[in-house]
């Protein structure tokens, strides 16, 4: 709300500078959004919060300033000569006013005036212009001036163009339409409140006037309207028609039911003052549902109890009184009557805020909430994600964050079945059309971005949610292209390969659960259709699939403009599918061995197709109790080894917790292992 300092000063004597006022009011709930000089005047732009429509005016802002500085407020009513009003039914009423929908319009004040249309005086036009309102004609300008000054919207009809002439406030008839002042013809529905003459709708109540009854050059007699329309009704109409006006903004937030007569009196006064015309006949006040002031009990202990600072009674009652509340003391508090312009005050906390706000948040002590009991344990998923993040970072990955909604074409290859994506009902654009079924489209886009910006080696990870029709799942994704380790004289250059991404996945899995394994699928199977066959694996926890990893197909990397020859290794594993962090940790410490261990090296001839994992697994599942460790320390193929065979050297370590093992016992145990491998894996000892 832009207010002119000189205009505000008509309601409050305040000598402070515009800067000082802006600073002060920012601490009272009216944040200063901007400040600019306007000639010798100053224009202050306050951010009026949605609950305070009463501050959308010079007088409303002036009242707040008066309270903040503890100086008197000159209420608008006190500046006007009292004007008598007549009921709509009174004899001599110059225009019949009928309210058919008193729930939506409990008050309609009308008056007739004879006018001469022309420009408004310079001072008025300048004030309007400064506040961002374009001057149109003296009559329209008077209504806008009253709107800015008092916050109450008004309207003027050309009396000669009203059939009857009569004013009826009613719901629109089905099929009825209205050309509004902006020149558009609007189809009306039977939920929309209109102002009609004897024949048809002539204005949208509280939103905009109609073109047919518009005040124009040649208008000689007008009907002024100052009414009150129900917020929900105005909001619904404004929304349905996509039409927001200064009037609708105020009515939908809640105007003052006690203000229309005052606004009318001010408009009539201005009319005469600027020589634009003169009221003829009485001001007619159709007021079928008069304002019933609510009374709210404000308990004294509630103030300090909620704010955490004591406010002296005198200060609290001064603030409430100056804001226009009528606070009468009772037993342990005050009974507070709410004025018509404070539609936001619904319960005691609202009053406590008023007291606290004007007493000053700057006077609040800075305390900390006391602890009455031990804090609840933190959600284990927080520690889990943190641990996963640490491991990924230790593995050389940088954390990426990408949007949770992506393009449909990028999502499609990651869906279990085509067309099963989770689309947004009302997406911002095609770029953000579906919820991601995987973190990898975003991550690969990150790889593409970096590769196009001169980065040769890219390692990214992201922890986030993926979406499917069966729900949401927290996952960790990795993407890796370029060198396996940074260039260094001590090590050779080598591109990242399958075993690097596998190592990264295993390092992560090891943090959660030792039962997680990366299985090499048969050559021709494809664990996921975004992966290259034979260069892909499934990640399992026990039997359950918790993820996949491998080389991304070119179609996927191409779609994100990754250079054509890049090999991008990727993985995605479910964090929700893992045990909580720490589950794999030891439960109990073992005592240190008291007796020495003995090592034996053996060399075996095996089929080269046999994986090390199977050899290791066989030994683990059948070996004697005294075998505590197996290390494969050499693997040899070539001269002296038959084709299709490999020589594998194993170091076996034996130890007993009870005594020192004898040579004979170790020899027997070694033989047992060799015989086991001969039987299970066809091994031959060399």
């Amino acid at each position: 709300m832009k207010v002119l300092l000189s205009w505000v000063r008509e309601f409050v004597d305040i000598d402070e500078s515009a800067e000082a006022i802006g600073r002060k009011m920012s601490m009272r709930g009216l944040a200063l959004e901007g400040l600019e000089p306007s000639g010798t005047d100053a224009l202050l732009d306050f951010d009026v919060t949605a609950n305070r429509p009463d501050c959308l005016s010079m007088a409303g802002i002036a009242r707040e300033i008066a309270v903040a500085y503890g100086v008197p407020f000159r209420a608008p009513a006190s500046r006007l000569a009292p004007l008598a009003t007549a009921a709509a039914s009174a004899p001599g009423a110059t225009i019949p006013i009928t309210i058919e929908a008193p729930d939506l319009c409990p008050r309609y004040v009308g008056a007739i005036a004879d006018v001469t249309i022309g420009p408004s005086p310079v001072w008025m036009a300048e004030r309007l212009t400064a506040c961002g309102v374009r001057p149109i004609s003296n009559i329209v300008d008077v209504t806008n001036y009253v709107l800015l000054e008092l916050g109450h919207p008004m309207h003027a009809f050309d009396h000669a163009r009203l059939a009857g002439p009569a004013i009826t406030v009613r719901l629109a008839r089905s099929g009825e339409s209205l050309e509004t002042l902006d020149g558009k013809t609007r189809a009306l529905t039977s939920q929309m409140l209109v102002i009609a003459d004897a024949e048809q709708a002539t204005a949208l109540g509280g939103v905009m006037g109609g073109a047919d009854s518009e005040v124009a050059n040649g208008t000689e007699r007008i009907v002024f309207e100052a009414a009150w329309f129900k917020p929900q009704s105005v909001r619904a109409t404004s929304r349905a028609l996509g039409l927001r006006t200064e009037a609708s903004i105020r009515f939908e937030r809640g105007a003052d039911l006690t203000a229309p007569a005052l606004a009318m009196a001010r408009a009539c006064e201005l009319l005469e003052q600027i020589g634009a015309g003169r009221r003829t006949g009485p001001i007619i006040d159709a007021y079928p549902r008069p304002y019933q002031a609510a009374t709210i009990w404000l308990p004294r202990p509630g103030i300090a109890g909620l704010l955490g600072m004591p406010v002296p009674d005198a200060a609290a009652t001064r603030i409430l009184g100056a804001l226009g509340f009528d606070a009468s003391p009772g037993d342990g508090g005050w009974s507070v009557r709410i004025p018509g312009w404070r539609i936001d005050i619904q319960r005691d906390v609202d009053l406590i805020e008023e007291v606290g706000r004007h007493h000053g948040f700057e006077h609040l002590p800075t305390t900390f909430p006391g602890v009455q009991q031990a804090p609840a344990p933190s959600d284990p998923r927080v520690a889990r994600d943190r641990r996963a993040r640490e491991v990924a970072i230790a593995g050389g990955f940088s954390e990426a964050i990408s949007f949770a909604f992506i393009e449909a074409r990028h999502a499609e290859p990651f869906l279990d079945r085509p067309g099963t994506g989770v689309g947004l009902a009302n997406p911002l654009s095609e770029t953000f059309a579906v919820m991601r079924p995987s973190l990898l489209p975003g991550l690969v886009a990150g790889v593409g971005h970096n590769r196009r910006h001169g980065q040769r080696d890219v390692q990214l990870f992201e922890i986030g949610t993926r979406f499917s029709r069966s729900g949401e799942e927290r996952v960790l994704a990795l993407a890796w292209t370029g060198l396996a380790t940074p260039d260094h004289w001590s090590g050779g250059r080598r591109d990242a390969d399958f075993f690097d991404i596998k190592g990264a996945v295993e390092a992560l899995a090891a943090q959660f659960d030792t039962t997680v394994s990366v299985d090499l699928p048969p050559e021709d199977s494809v664990p996921h259709r975004v992966l290259v066959p034979g260069r892909a694996s499934i990640v399992r926890r026990d039997r359950e699939v918790v993820g996949w990893m491998g080389q991304l197909r070119a179609a996927i990397t191409d779609a994100h403009d990754v250079p054509a020859n890049d090999v991008v290794w990727a993985a995605e594993i479910s964090l929700d599918g893992m045990a909580p962090a720490g589950a794999a940790r030891i439960k109990r410490a073992e005592p240190l061995p008291r007796f020495p261990s003995t090592e034996r090296d053996i060399a075996l001839l095996l089929d080269e197709s046999l994986s090390a994992a199977i050899v290791r697994g066989t030994i683990r599942s059948h070996a004697p109790d005294t075998l505590v460790s197996v290390v494969e320390f050499d693997r040899y193929q070539g001269k002296g080894i038959p084709d299709g065979k490999v020589s594998l050297a194993l170091r076996l370590t034996f130890q007993s917790p009870e005594r020192t093992l004898t040579d004979a016992e170790v020899e027997r145990a070694t033989t047992e292992v060799v015989e086991l491998l001969a039987r299970e894996c066809g091994a031959v000892r060399r």
């Binding site: 802006g22 920012s26 601490m27 009272r28 709930g29 944040a31 200063l32 959004e33 901007g34 400040l35 919060t49 949605a50 609950n51 305070r52 109890g305 909620l306 704010l307 955490g308 600072m309 319960r347 906390v349 609202d350 406590i352 805020e353 606290g356 706000r357 948040f361 700057e362 609040l364 002590p365 800075t366 305390t367 900390f368 909430p369 006391g370 009455q372 009991q373 804090p375 609840a376 970072i393 940088s398 954390e399 990426a400 964050i401 990408s402 949007f403 949770a404 909604f405 911002l428 654009s429 991550l443 886009a445 990150g446 971005h449 970096n450 910006h453 980065q455 890219v458 990214l460 986030g464």
Partner: protein, 168 residues
């Protein structure tokens, strides 16, 4: 988030939750349709606005340095009453007034307030017995201010030259 937690457990409640939130904003220098929010909630007997001020003032000092001037200013949010915003002294102009702070000398960093009694009634808490405070802060916005990042989109481009500035 806060509602769900209050529905799940009896008071007292103390929580901090961090996560993505979505808003109908087009992508530009200062807006993204998704951003991250940190929310805090403290509910129990005798929690006051002064506790909120103490907590947030100390958080702002932790984020921007102890010398950073902070103010706690009345505002409005539908789910809190009273409501307050926290501003820091404009870090570009130091309070002189510049385009970044719209010549006000202050930059808003978060919104907060005392949990509205209607919220307590909704989750089945007795507003006559307990009070509480809540706050919400946009992480990207604070990061923009703290590190002088000129373009919020950098947080979503995942450019290593940007990410690596934040250390490993």
């Amino acid at each position: 988030m806060q509602i769900r937690e209050m529905e799940r457990q009896d008071p007292p409640v103390r929580l901090v939750a961090i996560g993505p939130v979505y808003r109908r904003d087009n992508l530009d220098l200062t807006h993204t349709p998704m951003f991250h929010q940190v929310e805090g909630l403290v509910v129990g007997r005798g929690i006051t606005l002064a506790d909120l001020k103490g907590t947030l003032t100390s958080m702002a000092a932790a984020l921007f340095g102890a010398g950073q001037e902070v103010r706690f200013r009345p505002s409005f949010f539908p789910y809190t009453e009273p409501s307050a915003e926290v501003d820091i002294r404009c870090i570009r102009c130091g309070g002189e007034g510049c385009p970044m702070c719209k010549r006000t000398g202050w930059l808003e960093i978060l919104g907060s307030g005392m949990v509205h009694p209607a919220v307590f009634e909704y989750v089945g808490y007795d507003p006559d017995e307990i009070t509480g405070f809540a706050f919400g802060m946009g992480i990207e916005r604070v990061a923009l201010l703290k590190w002088g990042v000129e373009d919020i989109r950098l947080f979503y481009e995942n450019d290593l030259r940007f990410l690596e500035q934040f250390g490993r």
